[in-house]
Amino acid sequence: MADFILNGERVSIDADPAMPILWVVREKAGLAGTKFGCGIAQCGACTVHLDGEPVRSCSTPIADAEGREVTTIEGIGGPNGELTPVQKAWVSEQVPQCGYCQSGQIMSASALLRDNPSPSDADIDSAMRGNICRCGTYTRIRRAIKVASGQLEPRDEEA
């Protein structure tokens, strides 16, 4: 039995201690926003926060989450579904294409901006290089992080 805090709620889930957090969250807790991409911590699609730190949930066993806080994409917004500044910037900059990697991108970016409210390009590179976007939305991800951190103005709608 794995006991941990999932998006602010204490949960107790029957799972093999070696099962990665990814599959516990997706199949047992029914939270599908966290994605399976590679299974070997190479693409970042499965990024969640463990006690606030970004981890690759496909390669982190649920045993590591015992008694700790796991936050997924479903858990970062406000209580009534309000978007965070990062999510708002992802909308204003029209970042996603297929969208599959974007939960992980947003989780990585959210952790970056919490620790570093005004990241440089180099800071963005090092925080985000673990997240692959096959659609190639990187220039927009960079821009959205700068918008979320107040370094750039949001895109003019319909420009």
């Binding site: 399976f36 294409q97 969208g99 190639g136 220039t139």
Partner: protein, 748 residues
Amino acid sequence: MNELSPEKKSRLGKWSRRGFIGAGVLAGGGLLIGIGVRPGNPIDELAPKVAAGEGEQLVNSWVKIDTDNIVTAIVPHCEMGQGAHSVLGQMLADELDADWNKVRVMQAPADGSYVVTDTARMFVAPFTMNAADWIEPTWNGLFTQVARLADAMITGGSSSIRTTGQHSMRIAGAAARQMLVGAAAEGWDVPAGEIVTRGSMLIHEASGRRAPYAEFASAAAEQRMDQTPQLKTADQYRLMGRSMARTDIPAKVDGSARFGIDAEPEGLDLSYAAAIRPPVPGTSVAAMDATAAQDMGGVLQILNMGDFVAVVADSYWQAEQAARAIDIEWSASDSPVRTMTDQYGVFAAALDEAGDDGGEEAAARGDVRAGLADAATRIEAEYRVPYLAHAPMEPMNCTAHVADGACDIWTSTQVPLMARSAVAETLGLGAEDVTIHHPYLGGAFGRRLGAEYVAMAARIAQATGYPVKLIWSRGEDTQKALYRDADTCRMAAGLADNGDLTAYDAIFTQRHDPAEACVPAMYDIANTRVRLAEAPLHLPFQAWRAVDHSKQGFFIESFIDEAAHAAGSDPVEYRLAMLGKSPRHAAVLREAARISGWNGETAQGRGRGVAIVESFGTIVAQVVEVDMASGKPRLEKVWAVCDAGYVMNPDGFRNQIEGGIVFGLTAALYGELDLKDGAIVQSNFHDYRMLRIDETPDIEVAIINSGDVPVGGAGEPGLPPAAPALANAIFVATGERIRTLPLARQFV
């Protein structure tokens, strides 16, 4: 504006029969005309799948209007990141004069009635039959037969806007508007010409009457439809040409967007499957020992399916762990190709055999042999490109439930009807017994034009009796899937005394689609010949973003660059001199030179390269700047100028071009699959590398709306110029001409 899923809507209420009767005589786009004349109108079957609450009226199959005056655009293409749902809704809403805030977009169900006729013509006609042979029966009502032939609810070929958008959604919107106006004119007893439409409202200024569309939706459904409704001209557009925010994005930032892999159908207790397929194409299971796997936690069944082995377990992770513990012996392969050296040897043999005059001529102008013989300078080169995997972020997956002679499928697919046929054939069911549920795709790039993973899931579900979700590991999809073809291209060029290119000769071994990709048609070269010397591929082919243009763009635009340098000319000027009969191309290239500040000079250690390719109806020129100071390529900046005739959503278009460039640069720098003992070596993102954010250059995309030409595509055209522009830039920086991709391999 937001997205609806057909499943959600279908539970809301029953279909209004009155609306159906009206809609039955209507026709919207090309394919609905086929339905309209078909005996046994299928809209009756279609209606329950798209209809919503009591009181809603189906104005026609592409658009419906409900009592809250909400307009729903029913889009037959899937959404795989290209923004088709939004922009097709935008095109329909514009012609309908709908209030954009009250427009919804819905994925059309996988039903033969949504066969994308125009796209089908593009895809099917070149390969199987000429258009007249199979389009005609549609008009005569033999629709089912065509649907079976074409299985053509296809999303691909950068075609959604220019086929379905231009030839169905806009017509549907315009037709619906005309019918609403006609109904209001009758109801108000005023001339139709005095009624204007705006913001989903009908307005008769003289009498002060105003009504929402919903008020006349039922009456409109009984109006006679104009087969050729008046479409807007560009100066009348209200939504087209504007960067409306995409409808699918809100769900893609909060984790609520549902992809195929997220299927957890209500009422089904899913089991999870992992599969191991043969490492070498064409081989099968010779023997297996599952002793270690069968006692592992959660394992329910282990299946030897002959062409693959599957484990069904309580969770995917358990299934995957157990699958890896199975010892499988595979049958021997009779392919002569064990390594890429072997594969390139097969290509070389075919090219050698074709020699100077053999092979199949794909294009010929003038006398290329005389042109080469008479040339003052002759250059020759051989180019090579490797096999590539599509590697969409969402691994291949499919959820299948087989029960009571029927099958439900949940999957990410570009070809829902083809998937339906594949499942029906595999299970021995009729197509009508198979229902395909197809939510968003986590990327596709051509990979999901194949449906083999769908048929596999259906077989596992049938064999076990469990509703089952099959997920391929990343390794399975990297090593045992369908691939962009490798190829070798031999080229020769003749230059006159003044450096002008007077002869161009190319021969290669793989030709798929588009057929014209291999021809440098925009250039005015007196003697041009392009030939195919077909050679067998070891790995199975699947169209990969930009398809033949992904290879031919590199061959042609690298070699033209070689000619420019051999002539001692500026690469932009050299191309411009050959674009006299292609004014749109010349304008695009000039603009690329202008915005990039092209002057033939770059800083020490850096190089700039240029390339221009027309693909899928859109002309794209790119200038790439690379920094070679460290000895390895570092991408600094890409400028892209695009002429797609008219861009429907500029920001969405730019996003596609940016993505195409990153995809193209990824392949150019890193994309490579090696073979060892006939099996692919690379398995995951650690050895099949993707460009990452820290390697991605700044990208600037400019749009030229030249107008008065057919609208071009967006998803693929950004890709083809990227590799040659980069290789050309590396040549400028280093003096080294790289003719074999990937480029980074040369700078390890």
